[in-house]
């Protein structure tokens, strides 16, 4: 259900941009989803197809770009990859880490006609 309302937000953005960017049909949506954002890409695909029915993006492909979770470890003074929010540093084991990538979801670009 969470993914359903997020897909509705995606469609709203697409519809809002249609006039400004002068397009009638969207053929692909490029969506960045961070690994730490808490959204399941498969659920997004499922919901996307039902949400866009009858809209200007009815036949659009959903291209999901998965962004790895990254965080700054102040003990190691380096950026490390993390799979969960609460993980400790894979190098030195300390936490908290300062998350600096992979906690976002945004529309990157559209392929339009």
């Amino acid at each position: 259900m969470h993914e359903l309302s997020l897909c509705e937000s995606v469609l709203q953005v697409i519809e809002q941009q249609a006039q400004a960017e002068n397009y009638q049909t969207v053929t692909a949506v490029y969506l960045e989803i961070g690994a730490l954002y808490g959204v399941d890409p498969e659920a997004m695909r499922f919901c996307f197809d039902s949400v866009v029915q009858g809209s200007l993006a009815a036949n659009a492909r959903l291209e999901i770009i998965e962004i790895a979770g990254q965080a700054w470890c102040s003990s190691c003074n380096t950026n490390v990859l993390v799979e969960q929010r609460y993980e400790s540093c894979p190098n030195c084991g300390s936490y908290p880490l300062q998350i600096n990538d992979g906690d976002q979801m945004r529309i990157k670009q559209l392929e339009v006609a």
Binding site: Q17, Y37, R85
Partner: protein, 243 residues
């Protein structure tokens, strides 16, 4: 070479230009827009509204059955003598919770989210027009019972307060880290039941701190009244910080 379609010509792409008869050409439009940008915009408006009125707004989040509404009615009973209070209730269906709050004599407005699993800032903004909360009041927003989705939706509140009851298991903070990460205060509810359960309080608090090192914790029971004074004092302190 054309950079858009890769054909050999030098030309501009317009919607009319077509390489293959009967197929319209496609082009890329950069959007770079956060999905939650719209919600965040309304949340900022709400936050401005609350600041102008020096209100304290708390977004109460938990799983269903954590005892949010009972805790809220008990809290209201203790605060209402000297504090203005209003409540926004979020549920998928029914106005049962708002009716329970109104029984305490405090104004309450129910938002039914229907298929939605969380409250959004725009709906809260609309509710404010109807509810007309008073200046320097405390507004409690009881979110839809769900430990996942409400974490990502800012409503303009000062703090998210997560309520975890001891009947739910001590590992909830690491199972639902986003919510415990987003909250500033955790209320560990139903502690009167601890003698009957295998709930490890120390382990639970350690998990919560692991996800969010800055989270404050108050242990309480809405039923026995234990810890409610500490919770009440926390609210009063936060209210003075809004002035």
């Amino acid at each position: 070479m054309c950079g858009v379609c890769g054909c050999g010509d030098q030309h501009q792409h317009s919607p009319k230009h077509s390489h293959i008869l009967g197929l319209s050409p496609t082009r890329m439009v950069k959007i770079e827009q956060d999905i939650l940008a719209k919600n965040n915009h309304y949340a900022a408006e709400n936050r401005r509204y609350f600041a102008e009125r020096k209100m304290l707004v708390l977004n109460l989040v938990s799983s269903p059955g954590s005892g949010k509404t009972t805790l809220l009615t008990e809290t209201i009973e203790r605060l209402k003598a000297d504090t203005e209070i209003a409540v926004i209730e979020g549920d998928q269906q029914t106005s049962r919770d708002a009716e329970r709050i109104r029984a305490t004599g405090v104004p309450a407005l129910q938002i039914n989210t229907g298929k939605g699993c969380h409250l959004e800032a725009q709906r809260v903004g609309q509710a404010l027009d109807t509810l007309q909360p008073k200046a320097q009041s405390v507004l409690f927003i009881e979110n839809v019972g769900n430990l996942v989705c409400p974490s990502g939706f800012d409503l303009g509140e000062a703090h998210k307060v997560v309520i975890l009851s001891v009947t739910e298991g001590e590992d909830k903070p690491i199972k639902y880290p986003d919510m415990f990460h987003a909250a500033d205060l955790m209320l560990l509810n139903k502690i009167d039941l601890l003698p009957y359960l295998d709930f490890n309080v120390e382990q639970c608090l350690a998990y919560a701190k692991q996800v969010n090192p800055n989270i404050e914790v108050i242990q309480l029971s809405a039923k026995s009244g234990q810890g409610l004074e500490q919770w009440q004092a926390w609210i009063k302190k936060q209210l003075t910080l809004q002035a």
